[in-house]
């Protein structure tokens, strides 16, 4: 499998996700600079976390309009899987590849902590290695993770099974207390209509190594390698 990690100015989890990908793939992903709009064909495109363009104006807004994104959008429309983590998720919504928007956290403060998320569907290249309903412990680290969409969009996401993950208590209950940012319906991650584009706020790459205190994120990368090899 070949993967590309897109690097925007002030992306800062690009190396982290490359390390996690390499551990699962057995080879390094391609790092693509935001101005290189013609990068080689790959089986997976990753938009990493960070603060592209300082998150100035709106998180992800400027990156979404950069030249490389036009190419990412083209490939996503052709079915190339795209994974957006944190800032990557924000970029995907700003670019229109995913519906809704990520607003300032309800608590207004940046939040970095381990949260629990529930796997809502295993029917995707990203979640196939998890069990449905599995509860994962994964860190979040963001200032703008408060998922918003209008009612009709939320209903459509629910109806189509396009909610990938929800914030839950360790025992799986969906509660306000388990929601770190005020996201609508505790949504932590969503798919596009073909489930080939996933955006999520938690960072699976941060708990994919036992020495760092957990491995719940690892199966996402292993699953991708298995599906796309």
């Amino acid at each position: 499998m070949k993967a590309a990690v897109i690097v925007f100015p002030a992306s800062n989890c690009d190396r982290d996700v490359a390390v996690a990908l390499a551990a699962s793939m057995g080879r390094d992903p391609l790092m693509v600079w935001h101005r290189d709009a013609d990068f080689p064909a790959v089986d997976l495109i990753v938009l990493p976390g960070g603060f592209s363009y300082g998150d100035y104006l709106r998180a992800g807004a400027m990156a979404a309009r950069s030249p490389v994104m036009a190419e990412v959008i083209r490939r996503a429309r052709r079915g190339v899987p795209v994974l957006g983590i944190c800032n990557g998720f924000q970029i995907l919504t700003e670019a229109g590849l995913l519906p809704g928007a990520l607003m300032r956290n309800a608590g207004l403060a940046f939040v970095c902590r381990d949260v629990h998320i529930r796997v809502e569907t295993t029917d995707s290249v990203f979640t196939r290695r998890y069990a449905k309903g599995a509860i994962l412990r994964i860190p979040v680290a963001h200032h703008d993770g408060n998922y918003f969409a209008d009612r009709a969009t939320l209903e459509a996401l629910e109806g189509d099974g396009r909610i990938a993950f929800r914030y839950v208590e360790p025992d799986g209950r969906v509660t306000a207390a388990a929601n770190p940012n005020g996201a609508a319906r505790n949504i932590a991650g969503i798919f596009n209509t073909t489930r080939t584009v996933l955006g999520l706020m938690p960072h699976p790459e941060r708990l994919a190594d036992p020495l760092l205190g957990g491995t719940d994120g690892r199966a996402m990368f292993d699953g991708l390698v298995e599906a796309l090899a």
């Binding site: 002030a10 190396r15 982290d16 207004l108 403060a109 940046f110 939040v111 970095c112 960072h203 760092l212």
Partner: protein, 736 residues
Amino acid sequence: MSAITPALVAEHGLTPEEYARFRGFLGRDPTLTELGIVSVMWSEHCSYKSSKRWLRLLPTEAPWVICGPGENAGVVDIGDGRAVVFKMESHNHPSFIEPYQGAATGVGGIMRDVFTMGARPIANMNALRFGDPAHPKTRHLVAGVVAGIGGYGNCMGVPTVGGECNFHPAYNGNILVNAMTVGLAPADRIFYSAAAGVGNAVVYVGSKTGRDGIHGATMASAEFGADAEAKRPTVQVGDPFTEKLLLEACLELMRTDAIVAIQDMGAAGLTSSSVEMASKGGVGIELDLDRVPVRETGMTPYEIMLSESQERMLMVIRPERAELARAIFDKWELDFAIVGRITDTGRLVVRMRGAVAADIPVAPLVAEAPVYERPWVRSPAPPPVPADALARAPAIDAALRRLMGSPDLASRRWIWEQYDHMVMGDTVGRPGGDAAVVRIHGTRQGLAITTDVTPRYCQADPVEGGRQAVAEAWRNLTAVGATPLAVTDNMNFGNPEKPEIMGQFVGCIEGMSEACRALDFPVVSGNVSLYNETMGKAILPTPAIGAIGTLPDISFAMTVGFKRDGARIVVIGATRGHLGASLWLREIAGAEAGPPPPVDLAAERKAGDFVRGLIRDGRIDACHDVADGGLLVAVAEMALAGRIGAVLDPAPAGLHPAAWFFGEDQGRYLVTTGDADLLAARAAAAGVPVMVIGRTGGSSLTVDGAPPISLADLGTIHESWLPGYMAAEAGPVQTE
């Protein structure tokens, strides 16, 4: 040009003698720009004129020190061709005026000091002191400072892995924001600031220069007209996005052979960076200010030389590499301008619009900078511990609850959750432990980092407090299993022109120096912040110590939480029940009195080496140093971290239970082990006192026959003070 009047000289903070000395080697009246240059170079901040003589007492050498004080940051060798570059710096005053931006730009500044030397920052720390929680400004300051530190560090993608935070009324008018950055570089690729090579290009990179933070003292100068105030904000706004680009661009350029010397533009901007580079290299520098990228029109040479705009660097590069360098900065979309060249004249020559704005010989500007032997007096002995303090002691369990929810002991989770402490994917020991542990990327080696000082001890007895601050830092590194390596410091004090304040400074330095020598713990960098006084009221003497150590393998990294039921809890080091200057005395008995606990440096070292040995040999499964709040607070923290309770034996005969459980005797660790006999035997052989004080298990703490304290309750008390306090903050934090 305005005449240089005595009033103008005074406004620039120069004494008549200092001015006469400057005029003497200049050989004529200075221009306004020259006066500005000398005023910042000879300011306390740049010249260390009050502290220099005393800083020399600190030991700065060891076989593993690659570069001690004098450069942008200290450098130590950690083996395998790698070096750690680190320093701590204050941004106290700006953070009081504008907490978000003040703290943010403080973080930005210290990161630049580290990457200037060729190191990629891999961890940030912060040591914070705020006023009384009940003071009307405190909440707002806490909210802004924490958001600002997070705002900058998070955007940079450097994890903020720890720090400290205290509250005391002495900081009501002068908070302390000390930020530390730790970076990693190849040991043979360290970059220094000494300029060299006549004809080499002087290059300016980064943000454009504005009228930021220009020396406040000069604002009244008639030269600037009536709108001077409006033109000159003294607080800078941080731009972490540009700094992130600057970091990546500099590191990219540092992989080539283009750079001869590099220096960040921090305090006093272009002035101090160019003077330092020229002075260290024994060369001259010519600057053409018409080429400096500016973001405002009509800037004068004075303003450009003194601007403190952030996110800028000055470099000396080989002219034949200029185009390569320019291409790298173009890629990162940053300004790049050749603004001057290196000369053999030994003079700083500044030109603008066809005129010479300054022409100063560099060597005397640096060599003749004033150094003062300020008068000082030894600090008086603290008031004695009230004789009836123990007689009025409340029950142990009640005291523990109060301490665990007190401002100085309550959980700091509310702070560290606003910091991305995991980015870079190498944070092994997250905030909340004795020292943070980060993995050296791509290896199994670990780096332990801590910041420590107990200002109430320094106030009671500066020498003992200075010793204790160093010893505690060393102990915290040891408690996670690391070998302590070196220290950076941030000396925060009041007005040095007062002999009693100078006495605190001298005392702390003496104590620190002694401890650093005894523990083989050299000081490789640091910063001095004086005049932390408002209306004659000084802060507590606060010599913050930042320190690092290494772990050969992160799988050794020890943590504080109890791991299992039925383990023996053992205290290592002697407990005498010292309550002077303790938190128990202050929070429970209501007295800030008594001498601080003495530090026995020989015993300290023995106990620490013993504990490190136990950790490396896999003989213990939890370890925590005993500090603020004493033994019982340490047990409670271990229990909460591991979600496992404990049953403790009563206090030994002859010691009051409050003294036993809350005394703050130094040089102690709590560990848990399954084999207490083996531990005792090893301790006897090593000559270290140890004592079993209880065992782990259950879901509560049972102390000395008192009713059990449920961990759930204790956890709520511990976790809720800070968020509860901050929930009443009257405002949305001003953010970016």
